[in-house]
Assembly symmetry: C2
Homo-oligomer: 370 residues x 2
């Protein structure tokens, strides 16, 4: 479904000073809101996610991106909870973003789209809640960039939620994190198909740059061990890519990455990649003095979880969040889940991870109904 | 200096079946060969190195790439040793490579240049030794790809050397190592300026792809901690890159990477990047049964050294080399040098590292003169 949440007369004013006269938000919901409206869980997606978090759309065989966690009997149990998942502001799967039409000009925003901030995501998410008639959430849940949004929301409006669940998230990117995103953006913006961000009008698109960005990012989503287990040094036997000998996808891992780059083009937009990755770079909510004071007063219960082999947003990132929240008096539980699968673990059916999320949300529901 | 080491009538036959009718090799030497010819050290450079390992050329302020190790009084002491450093076959700094002119066609080889193997480097290195009148080396020394060449040489012709020094090297790339190189090659080959490898004739060049490749590789040469110490999240204050707000080099680390990408274009060639990185991918000398038998008979003394924060060719890679050599009876000494600076440590003046190399080479000289 899509809702127009901001429009001319009541525009969205952005944290960094810009303004959007129309904001449409695509979202999905799963399960049913209870009569007491006490079972709503808000799911925030990661950098390249979308509103389709669970189940299969008619005619599709691939389920939503968090189908391992969301569904009947699953940790985010849709027989029990009412789950809301919107596509992010700045995204490209139904919510207004830089490749949307600017109503003022009739052409795509491109780089005229205003620079976004994590707080803008929260503003839009809260408006969606009002629109859906939900006043308070049982939990706000997200992984990676999604977990960063959860943190922003928790700090700014802790009264909105009984609990919060931050998985493989960060409160502040490192220089290395920023560096990888910088190279990805460079690949996109220097692709001749980028046309200064107005590629939609040209029929061209920065496909090479976006594929390169995705391939590189994909390496960082997996642990070295995961890649070794999955591919090792296996040759790619069915080589049909027409490349000269020695410079095609000679190894299985090369073929896999190339495929990841290609399929990404069908579902993601280069401008969204720029805007959303930049929001992550700038995110640093604890830099504001007293950032966690309100959360320390309201005291929603918080679960922070990392994965042992995640070298993108690993335990160091989660521990920093935990210590800042603890210092402010927020009740926070922390798990570093053993997993060999790297950052992508947050998407995968790892039993200890699923158990942890299940237990946390069940406890949250018991507490609000106590 | 440049020497023509192979020419029509006595061509270079390559390990993977190709042939080169003319091979010129650029090289530098430092220090003097002793009357007994027992003090020669052969230096193998890394992926993007060249023959200019030490000192400053007239009019230049930047010394050679291993000036921290090579020079009067330095660990590779040019008052004591005679040092030879050639540019690699397939390179682009004076030695024949894929951007050289093919004498058969009068135009650049491009992707018609034959696929290379680590053994080809050794063949050319040995021919250079004959040319220079050096029969036996006191030591063969190299870091990263250079260390991999040392290993190939040690396994194939251990009688050529009294000792070998392998620094931050690998005997077999992991899937993650290959993956990073694969994305780099993809960025180069899919750059419209690549023209199927014949860019020299067009006046165009795959500058964007090569810069992206370098930027990405550069991240992997540094540890996360090195990047954090050097740049943290510092904003780039003097922003003059003309990029739209929010999408330029906003952070210092971005500006640094962009600079690394740009200056690389002046000194390196995209085709060499493809050919040399591919040699690394395929390198797996211990896959051959009995690979280290000859070295176990001849028993040159070997130093293997890694750096604690190197996540490209770290301790695991070195330990594999050590255990394979030990099993074959090669006398091998191993050091994992504490360093926060990542893979690039092998280029840097880290006291414990310099001391280790100095002690090893002094001991090697004492032994041959005993």
């Amino acid at each position: 479904m899509t809702a127009t949440l901001f429009e001319a007369g009541q525009p969205l004013t952005l944290a960094r000073g810009g303004r959007l006269d129309q904001v449409d938000v695509a979202y999905e919901t799963y399960g049913r809101l209870s009569p007491a409206k006490d079972n709503a869980i808000f799911v925030c997606h990661a950098l390249t996610g979308d509103a389709h978090a669970a189940g299969c759309h008619a005619g599709e065989r691939k389920p939503g991106w968090w189908d391992n966690l969301i569904g009947p009997g699953k940790p985010i149990d849709t027989d029990v909870f009412f789950v809301i998942c919107p596509n992010l502001l700045g995204g490209c799967q139904g919510t207004t973003g830089p490749s949307s039409l600017d109503p003022a000009t009739g052409r795509c925003y491109g780089l005229d789209f205003p620079v976004l901030d994590m707080a803008d995501f929260v503003t839009v998410h809260r408006r969606l809640l009002s629109y859906l008639g939900v006043r308070r959430l049982l939990a706000v849940v997200g992984g990676s960039l999604g977990g960063m949004q959860v943190l922003q929301w928790l700090l700014d409006y802790p009264e909105d939620m009984a609990s919060a669940c931050l998985i493989a998230a960060s409160s502040r990117l490192t220089a290395q994190n920023i560096a990888f995103s910088a190279v990805a953006r460079e690949a996109i913006m220097r692709d001749p198909g980028f046309h200064d961000g107005h590629y939609r009008e040209t029929g061209d698109s920065p496909d090479v740059g976006l594929a390169i960005a995705r391939m590189m990012a994909h390496i960082t989503y997996l642990s070295e061990e995961a890649l070794a287990r999955k591919f090792g040094r296996e040759p790619q036997t069915a080589q049909t890519d027409g490349q000269p000998p020695g410079f095609g996808a000679d190894f299985a891992v090369e073929s896999y990455l190339r495929h990841q780059g290609e399929v990404f083009l069908d579902r993601f937009d280069a401008l969204s990649y720029l805007y959303l990755s930049r929001v992550m770079d700038y995110f640093d909510p604890f830099a504001r003095p007293g950032a966690a004071e309100a959360a320390g007063r309201v005291r929603p219960s918080v679960l922070v979880s990392s994965f042992s082999s995640d070298w993108r947003f690993g335990a160091d990132h989660s521990r920093r969040i935990v210590s800042r929240l603890e210092r402010a008096g927020v009740p926070v539980s922390y798990r570093d889940i053993p997993s060999a699968l790297g950052h992508d673990s947050f998407l995968l059916p790892i039993p200890r991870y699923l158990d942890t999320v299940r237990a946390f949300l069940s406890q949250a529901l018991r507490q609000v109904r106590r």
